[in-house]
Each structure stands twice: as C-alpha cells, then as structure tokens.
C-alpha cells in the first residue's frame, strides 16, 4: 500500500507542475497578446483614467482639457474631456470612449495621450499626456464661425508661408462636450454635422474653373485673354485641350489628397468622355486655399498643418513664378483682399448651387490664403465676400 500511496502522491504533484507550466504560459508567453485584446476591460479602465494633454490655440487659449472627476469606487477618479470652445469643433475634433477620436484629438493622439514609464505602471499612476498647441487663431475662428452663421459650408484660412491653418470652420457643427449624448441625432442628421466640409467636402468649382484654366494656359505659355472675367470659359479654354486641362488639375495636385493632419480626400477630375465640363472639377476648400496660396507665393503650394510652429514640410512648386505674377495681376481686389468669387450651379453640383470665394490677404503683401464655400446659395460674392472680409479682419497679426 505504501508504494501505491506514494504513486498517487507523485501523480497529484505532477498535476501541480502542469498548473505551474500553464500559469507561465498564460502569464508570460501569451500575456502581451491577451492584454491588448479589445475586450480587455482593463484597457477601458486605463482609458477612463488617462489624463490627456490640453489642446491650445496659437495664443494659449484652451480648446480642450481633461477634468478629473473624483470617483469614490475607483483609483484616482475618472477623467472627463471638456471643450470650452465648441465653435472650433471640426478642427479640435472629439475624444470619446465610445466613438473614438476625430480632428486634432485624433491627429495628435499619441502626444495628447502621453506615455507610461514602467515606474508609472508599477505605481498605477494614471497616464498623463502632453499639451499640443494648434495653429488655430481663435479670434479668426470665432469671426468665421459667426459670419458663416446658419449657412451650410466651410471656411478655411492658411498662413501662406508656413501652411498653418488659422481657421477651420465647417457648418453645421456639433458640440464635442456632449457628443456621447448627441451621437445618434448627429449621425443620422441629413446635414451631416459630423462631416468636416473644409477638409473632406469635395465641391464643384463652377466659375472657379477659370482659375484652373488660366493656370494651364499661362503654364503652357499660351496667350490669355486680356480680361478673363468677361471671356466665357469655353472661349478661354479653347486653346487648351481637355487633356491639357486635366494635366493642369493634376499639376495642382487635385487628383490626390492634400497632405494634412486631418482626414481629407482627393478631388474629382471631370470625365470628358461622359459629357462632363471643366466646371465639374471638384476639390476640397482646403485644396483651393492651398492653390490661392500658390498664386500669392510664386507658385509654392504650402503643405497645411494644424500644429503651431511645427517643422512643416517644404512647399511644392506647382507652377512658375511668372505664372503666379500673371495670375495675381488678373485677380480682383476688394479692400485689401484679393480673390475670386464664383458659383457652381446645380448642373455641376448635382444638388443645390453653391458659392465660392478663394483669395489672399493682404492684397499687396499676401500672408493668408482663404477658401470659402457656402452651400445652397447662388449669390456668389454677395454671400461669401463678407465672410472672407470679417474672417481675415479678425486675424490678429
């Protein structure tokens, strides 16, 4: 019996060795993969405790900050994200446990979120992120938001030299502070308030197709009509073939997305084989702002950025300085502001008409490029020019 009992004992102890081995397997070998699983509630808990850094405008005004709400049952409390400037919503974006991130919150997520050292992990310190200063100018942002008012549309202002985005407004907008509660309404709203029209809205150029046409003619060294504003588009484009027009659009980068911190889309080139006209060329307001920046700056198209004083990429030269000078010469002027206004008809938009304004300021020594789109309005400069003037006038420089 002694031998039998000893054998059973050995067998059971072998079982404990097996348990120890499987603990090593799950706690060491498989641990990294398991811990990263999306259904790990610890990730949500850590996320709820993460104190994201603040988002500031270029003068230090707070656009987003983390508020620690004491939580008696948890460690150190739960963090709420607050947005004191809802009119910056499409630039700042949102941060939501449920719906993810968007805008600058998404673009600078890594910095805002910060990193945990192994000591922080050992001591269960909450993750504390760094502040990010955005290139936004809240005074101009506010003015653009006010002047765009109830219109659906977008306003974007770039610093021509650096590509910094000073203003980024898209209407209708949303309040990121109450996003979790409003989400269902926002997501099903036919006016798409969550959609960033300034960077992702692709709008038919309509009358502004002349600007592309002129660029193409000048680049190709073809004589342009003395007064492009009174010449019809067809007459003007007659020397430039369809393929020349498309080549110009490509030269301006309209067929690809603008490089930017926020999501943007490529333009839509007209398909001349199926009754499209040059007026159908559609691009984002952001891209049009870049194009007028190139007109104002010897053909250099800036690479836009939402970060303040960051090392922005070198601008691409999209046309020769001579072309830029010639284009500047035919650009209409309105009290220190130079630019082109235009209308796209329902024929081109496929929906409601829209009014454009693209320009730069000051007219004599350009510093800022601006692009404005107002949907559902065919009054052109009448509606867009005041918005441009108020926005540019509010820039503090």
């Amino acid at each position: 019996m002694t031998q039998n009992i000893r054998r059973i004992g050995q067998f059971v102890l072998l079982g404990f060795v097996l348990i120890a081995a499987s603990m090593v397997y799950w706690q060491l070998a498989r641990a990294p993969g398991l811990v990263a699983r999306e259904d790990n509630p610890r990730l949500v808990q850590a996320e709820l405790r993460t104190q994201r850094g603040r988002l500031l405008d270029r003068r230090g005004e707070v656009l987003a900050y983390s508020d620690v709400v004491p939580d008696p049952s948890g460690l150190g409390g739960v963090v709420r994200r607050r947005y004191p400037q809802p009119e910056a919503s499409h630039a700042v974006g949102y941060y939501s446990i449920r719906y993810g991130t968007d805008g600058a919150e998404a673009a600078f997520d890594t910095t805002l979120r910060g990193q945990l050292t192994s000591l922080d992990r050992l001591l269960h310190r909450p993750q504390v992120g760094d502040d990010v200063t955005l290139s936004l100018d809240m005074a101009a942002q506010h003015a653009a938001d006010q002047s765009l008012g109830e219109h659906r549309g977008a306003v974007i202002v770039l610093d021509i030299a650096t590509g910094e985005v000073l203003t980024l407004v898209s209407h209708p907008a949303y309040d990121p502070s109450t996003l979790d509660d409003d989400w269902d309404v926002l997501a099903s709203d036919p006016d798409a308030p969550l959609f960033n029209r300034a960077t992702q809205g692709v709008y038919a150029l309509g009358d502004l197709a002349k600007l592309v046409g002129l660029t193409g003619l000048l680049s190709a060294g073809i004589t342009t009509p003395p007064d492009p504003h009174t010449t019809s588009l067809d007459d003007m484009l007659a020397p430039l073939s369809d393929s020349g027009y498309l080549a110009t659009a490509r030269q301006l980068g309209f067929d690809v997305s603008s490089p930017f911190d926020l999501a943007t889309g490529p333009g839509l080139l007209p398909d001349f084989s199926s009754q499209s006209t040059p007026r159908d060329l559609a691009v984002t307001p952001l891209h049009m702002a870049r194009m007028v920046a190139a007109i104002a700056d010897d053909g250099y198209m800036p690479v836009p950025t939402l970060a303040y004083a960051s090392l922005s990429s070198a601008p691409d030269r999209v046309f020769a300085p001579g072309v830029a000078v010639s284009l500047q010469a035919v650009t209409p002027r309105f009290d220190g502001l130079a630019g082109w206004a235009g209308v796209a008809t329902p024929k081109e938009t496929g929906d409601r008409p829209l009014s454009w304004f693209v320009g730069y300021a000051p007219a004599d020594a350009p510093r800022f490029a601006i692009a404005i789109v107002v949907e559902g309005d065919d009054s052109g400069a009448q509606v867009t020019l005041p918005i441009a003037q108020q926005t540019v006038g509010a820039i503090q420089w």
Binding site: M1, T2, Q3, N4, I5, R6, R7, I8, G9, V12, L13, G15, F16, L18, I19, A20, S22, M23, V24, W26, Q27, L28, R30, A31, L34, V35, R37, D39, N40, P41, R42, Q45, L75, H124
Partner: protein, 455 residues
C-alpha cells in the same frame, strides 16, 4: 498501546511544546508568517479604500490570529506529535481567502442589496469569518477527539446514508442563497449549508473503511468476464452501489465539479488499496465515455466543453468567464498588479470559482506559483501523514484526503487556466464558501489526528 506511547511522548514534550509555545521556535515562526501576510493584505486594502488604516478592517486578521494561535496551543498541549506544517499552511490559505473575499465579494449582503440595518452581519466577509471560527472549532474537535478514529470507521454506512439523505433533500427543498443558479444548498434565513461538501468527506470515510475491510478479498477473489479477471461483484458491488448513488445524485443536481471529484477520489483510493493500474485505466476510459455522452445529451455539459475548446469565438458570450479569467492572468504578468489594484471583478462570480484568477492578476505569476506550491505542500504533507500512519484505515483516509485536496485544487486551477473545461468547485480554504471551508477544516483535523498517532 501506541496511545500510551504517545501520551508519554506528550508529557516529555510538554516543556518544549507548550510552555515555550510562543517563543521563537520554528513552529511559532511558521505561524507568524500567515498572520503577517494577512495583516499586510488588509493593510493594503484599508489604505486603498480609505487612504488610512481603519481598525475595523483588521478584525478578520485578529480573528484569524486568535484561531491559529488557539489551535496551535491546543494541539501542542494535547496532540504534541501533530504535523507542524499543516496548521501554518491552513493559516496561509485562510488568510488569503479572507483577503480575497474582502477584496472581491460584493459589498452588499449575501441575499442581495437592501434590507436596511445590521447589513454588516450578512456581508460575505462577515460570514466567512464566522465560518472560519466554526471551522477551527471543528478542526480542533476532530483532531483532539480522544482515542483513535474507530468511531468513524465502524459506522460507515450510517455516515454515508446521512450524507446522501442530506444531499437528496436538496433535490426537494434545495435553495441557492444568491437567488438564482443551481439549488445545491439547504437552509433558510441567512444560514445555508451545501451537503455535497459534507458528502465528499463522508464518502472518503466510507471508502477508506470499506477498502480496509475488503482489500484482501478484492485482490484475491476474482470473477471472469470473458478474458478479463475482475474483482468479485459480491465484494466490489456494495462499494460501487454507494458510490454510484452519490454520483447519480450529483449528476441529477448538475453539480459536475463535485461529481468529477468523487470519481477521481474513488479511483485514487481504489488504486491506493489494491495497486491495480487497470482499474484506474478502466475508470478513466469510463470517464471519457461519460464525458462524450454528457456532451451529446446535456446542454450544460456541451456549453462548458465548447466554451473551453474554443473560447475566442464567443469571448463576449458563453466563453465570457473563461476569457476574462485568462485576461486576468495575463494582466497579472510576473509580479501582479497588487491586491486591490487589478480588475479581477470583471470576471463574473470571481470570489468563488475564479479566486485563483484574481490571485494570478493581483499577486502575479510569483504569487500564484507560491499558492500552487503551498497546495502542493499541503497535499504532499497529507500523503506524508498517510505513509507514516500505522493503521490501514488511517493510511487510506489520509491518502484520500490528500487526493481530494489535490484533485479539488487542481480541477479549479486547471479550469480557470483553460487546461480542462471549467467545473464549479471551490479552491479549498481560499474561495468564498462556508460549507467548503468547514469540510476542509475537518479534513485537516483528521490529518492532524492521524499524524499525532504515527508510529
């Protein structure tokens, strides 16, 4: 005769064992360790909850100290030759158990939130402390009972019948204190008992007693079935009948964990008594067949097997518990998150079936391995006691207790680690559960008793 010898030894040992009981002997050092460990655990919890040390938090530590020191004193006084490792091990398990219940169990009373005043009296922690005191008394009663264990051996059928009747009663008037789930308990008004826990112990006693009597004939008188020689049904029959009846009741109750333990312990004791490996192999083959049949016939068996075999498919559905358990182990890594600082409460009913996962998360691989080592030590000690016991009944009983502790802790640890399908048994001493704690204490009491009678 041997009783007289141990008496003499006891008298001779009194100087060392009792009078100097609290001096730094190896034994008192062994006893300080579980108390220190438990005190540290409750210090951690108190600091985490309130930011300071609250006296009320240390009541369980004080009760544990009182139980351990009192038991050690009484055992040293009246059972001077008892095994010196068993009580410190029980102390560690109970201390860990109290800390885990305080950490994991819901703060509301057992019957659910509400009811108003005197709620503290029905919280999980309070109950576990009461059961600890009762368990210690039971341990001492069994360990100190005069003379040998003949009283257990002689009335084996009576004991087992009593256990079976209690278990059968749960089929009629069984309740579940939490208000839902399998109705495995007897009782009312806040006092509940799980007869299957007691039946485990009584079955051990029955098997040890029966096998002691019939060991010889089981080996010698054989019948033939075809080419195989099997023990004669006249001798194997009564045992198979009693055991089969227990199994049937448990399966009827859907208490799969207990049924698995009964089966394993039965095979272990049969092997201990006869040394016939073919019985074990036959038994394992039968278990395999029973598993397949159960899988095909019963949804609740199929559910557990599926959740075990491929948990990732339905990680948020029926495999939720096991996946969350593995996530807890994984997030514990080597050193663990620290008591109270992980998130093991994400596992449903973590304080009973999944307490080992909580240990894995908050004490890490190091702490978990230490717990495994302590269980291995307890089991090893039980077999040690069995090998040194003089009477066959004592040897079989001690070996059975060792096998039961071993299998039970293995089954639940392996279940939480996805080595085998999960079955709901408690981690002895550590999981919340009064009946389990009481029964485990009685079994250690038996081991202590047997160890003090050694040759």
């Amino acid at each position: 005769m041997e009783y007289e010898a141990s008496r003499k030894y006891a008298v001779r040992n009194t100087q060392y064992g009792v009078d100097n009981f609290l001096l730094p002997t190896p034994y008192s050092l062994l006893l300080i360790f579980p108390l220190l460990f438990t005190a540290i655990a409750f210090t951690q919890l108190s600091l985490l909850e309130t930011g300071r040390l609250t006296l009320g938090r240390f009541i369980p530590v004080a009760v544990l100290a009182f139980c351990l020191v009192g038991a050690a004193w009484a055992l040293s006084r009246w059972r001077p030759t008892h095994d010196r490792l068993l009580l410190p091990l029980v102390g560690i398990f109970c201390g860990l158990g109290l800390a885990e219940v305080a950490r994991l169990a819901p703060a509301f009373p057992v019957g659910g939130p509400g009811e108003g005043g005197w709620q503290v009296l029905s919280t999980f922690l309070f109950r576990q402390v009461i059961w600890l005191v009762l368990g210690t008394l039971a341990l001492l009663a069994v360990a100190l009972i005069p003379r040998d264990l003949r009283w257990l051996r002689r009335y084996r059928y009576t004991w087992l019948f009593a256990g079976l009747v209690l278990l059968a009663m749960t089929l009629v008037v069984g309740v579940n204190p939490s208000g839902f789930g399998a109705r495995l308990w007897l009782g009312a008004r806040g006092v509940y008992f799980q007869p299957s826990e007691l039946l485990k112990l009584l079955l051990l006693v029955f098997l040890a007693s029966y096998l002691e009597d019939r060991r010889e004939v089981l080996l010698e008188v054989e019948a033939r079935i075809g080419r195989w020689q099997v023990p004669h049904p006249a001798y194997l029959g009564p045992m198979l009948l009693m055991w089969g009846f227990s199994m049937l009741l448990l399966i009827w109750q859907r208490d799969l964990g207990a049924a698995l333990l009964f089966f394993g312990v039965f095979l272990a004791m049969l092997y201990a008594a006869t040394g016939q490996g073919r019985y074990v192999l036959t038994g394992l083959a039968l278990l395999f067949v029973a598993g397949i049949v159960g899988y095909r016939l019963f949804d609740h068996v199929a559910l557990r097997v599926d959740a075990w075999w491929n948990p990732w498919q339905e990680a948020s559905g029926r495999s939720f518990q096991i996946v969350q358990s593995l996530l807890a182990f994984a997030s514990g890594s080597i050193l663990g998150q620290g008591l109270g600082q992980g998130l093991p409460t994400a596992i449903p009913v973590v304080h009973t079936d999944f307490v080992f996962a909580a240990i894995g998360e908050e004490y890490g691989l190091v702490g978990g391995l230490a717990v495994v080592a302590c269980f291995a030590l307890l089991v090893g000690r039980a077999f040690h006691v069995a090998l040194r016991a003089r009477r066959p009944f004592d040897r079989l009983l001690a070996a059975g207790i060792g096998a039961l502790f071993g299998l039970q802790s293995l089954v639940i640890m392996a279940g939480t680690l996805r080595v085998i399908p999960l079955t709901g048994v408690t981690l002895p001493f550590v999981s919340y559960g009064g009946s389990s704690l009481l029964t485990s204490m009685v079994m250690v009491g038996l081991l202590l008793h047997i160890s003090s009678l050694r040759k």
